[in-house]
Symmetry: C2
Subunit: 346 residues, 2 copies
């Protein structure tokens, strides 16, 4: 590869002049600048950016440290959102995958510091509390899809509660009054938040919460299948089910179909997550709530860029991003013959 | 942060001595080395790796350039495999997401060159031919899940043909003789390869290929659903269906269930891809072929490391990695009553 000396020789100027042009010094006549740039172009010369970083103290790199996002089918959009925003601002992401191991996390932070990254995005594959690795706070840091118990670090998570509210409100607005929820364990912030939203929507529509309509288990298809079977055995079958994940919803689909219930004619279903692979291609396509993965990734990079531009802006506190409703074909009005049942006073 | 001067001062040695210790020069007495390391430790001094890269000409970074892998639910393991192998060898990955745009690809390569990466992994979200961006070959380059038409660049792809062979052989060994295949368009190397394997297995078991049992369309659930419905309308319904993707298989599941066929008692199903989210959680869990994403990512990084260690090793040519069979619950022997039909001479 061509060196700065080759460029100087071809342009007929001194080494220092080439250096000035590369570093955008204003003290070079335009004519000379053009000469140097033409020579650099002809020789396909690339300035050594390591050297430039040395001078400017900027690596133009953020570290993206995550537990297992690359293998989580639905959280990869965090990376895409972060990358796109970074790219727009001429930053790049150095990827670290920790597998959730605290020792590896510490190593990653150390390695990121050594390489002079300008900020760290710490992201988890699902919404949860985290303990920060040692030294993580020595750099601007933004959390994605996770939070510290004391909220001392800036972070972004999905607005689970408003998502659960919007999902349940959709069903209420369609006229449903007997709405079951198949949830996961409330130890997960996502499950706890979505349930809060379900409760709030029922309250707002003055529909009493019926505890036997709320079922709790895991996040998976099997959980949805088993809980839906149990709901279908009730004397008064619900006319709608809000499922805390698309996987739960698809398990419920199987149970309903097996027992001869049509979706949405007999029972409406709303999911959560908008896992394209599942939700968009289910029969019928599943109405669900989108988790704003892309937006969270993009938001995080934006915060780091702003923190770098203005040190006062690092700050703390948790931001909640909206989970938009994705309308597909699994929600309809309740069947007329069941309508009176669902209005029965208990 | 502490500087090299602070360390020198605390250790009571010269700046140069500290520098020698950091750069692992052999010309330092052990006693002095210990003194410096203790001082560096006490001050939490971190050598400036940018500076070190300047000297050693090594960035210890590979570029990982991909079209849309981060958003492809099933290819993210390429990243994980690459990262793990890189981490083991003290390398890191700088991520580039091109969205498949050739202009962005060129920009990424340029940016990677400028930042002094030591090699490039160029990966695609599905197995396909690619045109390399300009200047990509100025660095050691390995392709993952893609290839150039002339195979002039080293690359790795799944062994689609052997995968299709193993899937079909499993069904043949179970006694099936009337085996349908629901495939995607053969313009995709994955579809073409899997079909080759299907043909080869039938030949090996001396089962004539019946063209009406081979159906071609898209990769999705809807495709599987429609094609399965058509197969179920045949006078002689197949006893097994090899589906070119898990998504196709799950669409076929829906059609079979709707028409009252049990899986695997009436009809056996094999998928392809092993998309955990779909295959492991289907009812019944789907027997399928794993695409070695993790292994391909890991393999690629290993090649780059070897190429860096020994320049003769860059090389060319396409490596095909095995697609292992993942046995779940969707395959059984053919139902006895259909057995004579399937042996009928045509």
């Amino acid at each position: 590869m061509a060196t700065i000396k080759d460029v100087a020789e071809l342009a007929g100027v001194s080494f220092k002049t080439v250096s000035r042009v590369i570093n955008r010094s204003p003290h070079v006549r335009d004519e000379i600048r053009q000469k140097v740039l033409r020579a650099a172009d002809a020789l396909e010369y690339r300035p050594n950016l390591h050297a430039r970083h040395m001078r400017t103290q900027r690596s133009k790199v953020f570290a993206f440290i995550s537990d297992d996002i690359a293998t989580t089918p639905f959280a990869g959009q965090i990376i895409q959102g972060a990358q796109l925003k970074a790219w727009q601002r001429e930053m790049l992401l150095l990827m670290f995958n920790t597998g959730g191991d605290p020792a590896v996390e510490e190593d990653c932070v150390k390695s990121a510091l050594e390489r002079g990254v300008e900020g760290v995005i710490f992201a988890t594959m699902y919404h949860r509390a985290v303990k920060l690795p040692k030294d993580a706070l020595r750099l601007p840091l933004v959390l994605v899809d996770c939070f510290t118990r004391d909220s001392a670090v800036k972070g972004v998570v999905p607005d689970e509660s408003n998502g659960g509210f919007a999902a349940t409100r959709l069903l209420l607005e369609k006229g449903h009054r007997r709405i079951a929820m198949i949830n996961a364990d409330k130890k997960y912030p996502a499950a706890a938040g979505r349930y809060q939203g379900y409760q709030k929507a029922l309250r707002q529509f003055r529909v009493p919460l019926e505890p036997e309509l709320v079922r709790t288990g895991g996040w998976w298809q099997d959980d949805g299948y088993e809980h839906a079977l149990a709901l279908l055995k009730m004397q008064q079958v619900p006319t709608a089910i809000f499922c805390a994940s698309d996987r739960i919803a698809l398990g419920a689909y199987d149970a309903l179909k097996e027992k001869g219930f049509r979706i949405p004619e007999d029972i409406s279903i709303v999911g959560f997550d908008n896992q394209e692979l599942l939700a968009a291609h289910a029969r019928p396509p599943l109405t669900t709530m989108q988790i704003p993965y892309f937006e969270m990734g993009s938001w995080a990079v934006k915060q780091l860029i702003e923190a770098n531009e203005d040190e006062d802006k690092t700050g703390a506190g948790l931001t909640k991003l909206e989970c938009p409703l994705i309308v597909r074909a699994s929600v309809d009005s309740p069947p007329i013959k069941r309508e009176p049942q669902s209005k029965k006073k208990r």
